[in-house]
Symmetry: D2
Subunit: 283 residues, 4 copies
């Protein structure tokens, strides 16, 4: 189904690394954190500082929010991008934001270090081609009912335009379960790595939609072989303008970062054992 | 879930009619027919002539094709629109084509009588806003895993920009069934009519993906209360560049049109009985 | 997937008829009607009389109810079967009831003319084998997430034990839509008839779970080629012990029966046209 | 939805332990391993010995196999149970097998230490009640499209009959993904533990259907907080009579066991940190 000549791993173990202003995705485990949407300068700067202190590598923040209803908060747009820029200056963290319209791609790229394609736009082929014409890293979220092959074909749209810097990001699929907002599909992590050389991220915040599940799913994502996680953090979740049920307060995020470090050490030990045995990583 | 102040039926029986260059959708049963994609002038003109003779009301034909793989046929673009225009001049049939990029909306509208938003773009909010700024009729397909409420919120995006001419179109949802390409959800027809005053169409070609099922599903759509169906017809299905398994040859289409007419008479009889009994239509 | 040697149509147009105490399923359109569950003698006898007067062919009524919670009403059991028997004596209508346990099959068959396998038990292979050892007609409901092939394999389990009297019954599948209780898949009707010679029924009551949708879905089922429908009727829906949102009052049921008759006449006309043209039914 | 008075955690952190002939589920991480089905004495005894050596705690093996087609291998029945008994005598491992018919429950319980309810029988309420009347531990698999609440209601059926020894087991749900056989839903592990005090297992063999994914999903299951995993191991996968694509050879299983031990140590470290901080486990 579809020609994946650029996206496919072609059956070998070659892995791609993507460089996001000094952070290398695809080598060490990377944590992206920050608010769902940029709501104000204060909110963004405080949260950015908190996630930086806890050890996050990249700052996230939405300036253009695709919302189910036309009457919901749609993001601050350009103003939000300027706030992200300021947060970067203050913390040194590279920033990533979602882009939703092909007409916005070129100028949004001036403000951020990585652009995100959201789940609803996974098959927005005009948008994919437009980010493919830049050389910005692209975080390509999986469509909420997309198969792996469809997702990889979307990566192929970007690579085919000349931009090799694509990171796949699982964010939960729609299932019949109602307890969680979506069903986080962690098996897609090793599956995507079998078929493709691209790095694979996991977003447990949207993937579960429940604060109480994010920690265990982040740890499970790392254990499953993900190259990183993206966590929604808000300095004051009860006041968040969107997705407040899944916004993690900074202290809980700091606790999660510590556990990820412990697990990281454990995984180094696995890899050493594997090397001792002359085994390669099963990707 | 979402404010549907413009899309909602508000519990009364008011129905909206949409006028497409002389054809009124929402009053009599309307049939849109034509090729999946405009492949050539010859193919389009022959097919247009055939569906006109059989009694179709509007001609369809894709000039921009959203395809899973970047390497598949993506449509003829402007050239395709010019062919559609010529087919309209020759047959008198109004034409509808899909638009996929907000940058294309204004100029594509110069060539066609109705624009279609495809299933993958149902929640492409930039595109919805752009067609909302025109006064062209918009055929809004349901996302392949969209709920009714999400779909109606997308109609609301268009109406909120000032364009009241929206027709909803069910085109099959993704299910676990593999015998059919999608699962045509006919219960969405009376459901959408309960919640909204907008006309509701059905696309049994994409909805089933199997030629042998299209006739019975078209008849069932009419019996379920749909305002019309959209059928893919190709003068030579075995040579179709896309979706050849669901392309209907002209003679089969003519047979279907006759059955729809018989059923239409039958439904008039139902409505008369209902009026005799002083009943209103259960929408 | 699976050997369907007994269930398959083997590509020809042979259709099977199943005889239910004088009613032939697979020839004329058959309507099964009655309460979701047998609640009392009065409720059952009144409802039976009403559906008989309106023209129903078979009476339904549940004596063993598979319920999500162990604390919900589980049916009257043997007492319910005796009430069904009495209703049959008074109305002359054959009766059908669900059986859920292989240990109950032989004795339940003494009381009814047809047994039903419910959606949750479609792949209860012990139960399928047990009804396969009788010669009672079996109404085999489709599992709520079953594919067509899985369903036909379940019919094969029954036929392989020696009982050829199987009727398939679509009752709605689970999808992401929340407006309806299930999504009635009418395209499975012509699909099942392509692959199998068995009759195909539709249950729009469970299939939609909304009273206001049952009439249009019944008509659409007939137009799609179904061999009959099964409708939940209760003489006083507001007091029904289960599924009260989908229980149809007798007068609405009588109105539906009239429309089905009109549509039936229309379909005879289609078939005559087809015969005039020398065409066979596309099954 | 449903009264879960016995199954619910009632919001507190009380956890239930289930004792399976000397193995305590719900305390340390437990590994169940063995063949999909008992095919022969040789195959079962060799595999049992291998998984015992690698550190497995309980032996699995199917004697009654629910198969999609009536013509597929249905298991050895009583002969299979006797082979399992012999394997237990030789290795000391407790044994678990699936039961599919309420008529089999009492005598099957004579041969095994735990019975399994398979995914197709999750809502086979007669079967649930029958195992509820024993005091055998019951491994209750989640239905392949079941919600968490429906699953817990099935546990409630067992507990309501008097048997408190229920272990929940996630085995993958049906989604649109075709790369994997099912989609393993690891977020159900912490979710089930929020709502219920029962132990939660994970079956990554059926959950993925691909040998190459089982290791990473087992590790992820442990990181997500599962009480154990169930792995299909076959001493010679290429000759397995069922599910050969997911059967793990013994040496790969031994490697997995080592990694689980490393991860187990890591998780002890997490818990110690948590205790140092005065935090309780977020279940």
């Amino acid at each position: 189904m579809g020609n994946l000549k650029l996206t496919s791993s072609n059956g070998n173990n070659r892995r791609t690394s993507v460089h996001v202003d000094g952070v290398t995705i695809g080598r060490d485990f990377v944590v992206i954190a920050g608010p769902c949407s940029v709501e104000s300068e204060t909110q963004t700067l405080i949260t950015a500082q908190k996630v930086k202190e806890a050890g996050a590598n990249i700052l996230r923040g939405g300036a253009f929010k695709p919302r189910t209803s036309p009457y919901d908060f749609q993001g601050l747009g350009l103003q939000g991008l300027k706030i992200l820029q300021k947060a970067k200056r203050e913390t040194g963290l590279p920033v990533v934001t979602e882009v939703t319209d092909p007409r916005d791609v070129s100028w949004v790229c001036e403000y951020v270090d990585m652009v995100q394609i959201g789940t609803r736009n996974m098959q927005n082929f005009s948008l994919l081609k437009e980010v493919g014409k830049t050389d910005k890293p692209v975080l390509l979220k999986r469509g909420m009912n997309s198969t792996l092959k469809e997702w990889l074909n979307c990566a192929e749209y970007i690579l085919a335009e000349g931009n090799p810097n694509v990171i796949l990001c699982e964010r939960g699929i729609r299932t019949f379960e109602t307890y969680t907002r979506n069903t986080l599909d962690l098996s897609i992590v090793p599956s995507a790595k079998e078929l493709s050389h691209l790095p694979v991220f996991v977003d447990p915040s949207h993937g579960t939609g429940r604060l109480s599940l994010i920690e265990s799913m982040s740890l499970a994502a790392m254990a499953a072989g993900a190259d990183g996680v993206m966590i929604e953090v808000h300095h004051n979740p009860s006041e968040a303008l969107c997705d407040k049920d899944q916004a993690m307060p900074p202290d809980m995020f700091a606790g999660l970062m510590k556990k990820l470090q412990v697990l990281g050490t454990c995984m180094v030990q696995w890899n050493q054992e594997r090397e001792c045995q002359g085994l390669v990583r099963p990707q």
